[in-house]
Subunit: 203 residues, 2 copies
């Protein structure tokens, strides 16, 4: 399998970290949808990261679809999705919040990458409020993490939420102050010490 | 269970149609993240649709996380995700493409909702190209649909792709001409005749 995309995307990073945690052998091609658009287009004409090229050549995009595929191939003891229904529900709820943080932070990153004359303040305000609402719910969840958010073992909720938090500090740190989310920041710092996270740094 | 959000979102619609196809009893609260922001905020502070309120009060957002939860509760013969690994892979690949169409069409809808002075042409061009690249891949898939895209029975690929296509015709039809995607349009027309689609019209 081949994973295509830059760690600067929280969606690519949640997949890359998950593949390491799952013990799935793969090649990782770090090319950018922005700087390497033409090269990316030869792999996936939609120019969307992450893209997974499966062993049989099939292409899957969208990090959640890729993770669904990977879960179908992983050894049962390496799965990041709990079988217990209450735990499964809690993990999905937290992933949804983590993905909301990713989406809003990415929208703001794109907005700030435009020339200043095109920054549309009502849109920025709305998206920033949504970002903080999702972070506030995750701050509550992190305050009772023990040490993981949802389950006795690390789950996909931990991977997605930690990747989402790290991305906010990488790209929109001027909007997301650590002092406002101390439990979430402390929790994410612990997760980032795992070797699978250390091996997939943002850059 | 309660599903919250307007059918004008392809993400809400893929969940609403799926719940009907799965035979899952639910209430559907059609309120808008834009027109009914304050009311929506009392249900989900992130103001993100679709939101699912589970029977135990847990909240799940993100259509793919909601569908994952629903799949864990559905009768096996009503599941929209095939168990066969090759079919499962194909369905995920097509859903990824359908979600790319949704994402790019929604981005363009939001862009066109801004005052004209804030329309940033390089961004619009890039996203429009991505939209057409995803549609071109789906046009190929639709050309060999028989009658469904991936499997002998209707699957989540059909729900997501048909909902994505319909949304392009609802919101960005000036960019997506039917003549360019005749197989996809004909395929989607058939899917839209299913009672579960007819019962969940865009408005």
């Amino acid at each position: 399998m081949k994973l295509v995309g830059m760690m600067g995307s929280p969606y690519v990073r949640r997949v890359a970290v998950s593949m390491r945690l799952m013990g799935l052998e793969h090649e990782h091609r770090q090319i950018s949808v922005f700087r390497d658009t033409d090269e990316f287009r030869t792999i996936n004409s939609v120019v969307k990261a992450p893209t997974l090229i499966c062993e049989n050549g099939e292409m899957i995009m969208d990090s959640s679809m890729i993770l669904d595929y990977l879960e179908s191939r992983v050894a049962p003891d390496r799965s990041l999705m709990p079988k217990d229904s209450a735990e499964h529900q809690k993990v999905l709820s937290l992933i949804g919040l983590g993905l909301a943080v990713c989406e809003k932070a990415v929208q703001l990153e794109y907005e700030y990458n435009k020339p200043v004359a095109y920054h549309y303040e009502p849109w920025q305000t709305r998206v920033t409020e949504q970002l903080h609402a999702a972070l506030a719910l995750l701050e509550k969840a992190a305050a009772s993490a023990n040490p993981w958010l949802a389950t006795a073992q690390l789950s996909q909720a931990d991977v997605t939420v930690a990747a989402a938090w790290r991305f906010t500090q990488f790209r929109v740190s001027h909007l997301v102050e650590v002092q406002r989310y101390t439990a979430l920041a402390a929790y994410a710092d612990q997760v980032e010490k795992l070797p699978e996270f250390v091996a997939t740094p943002l850059k």
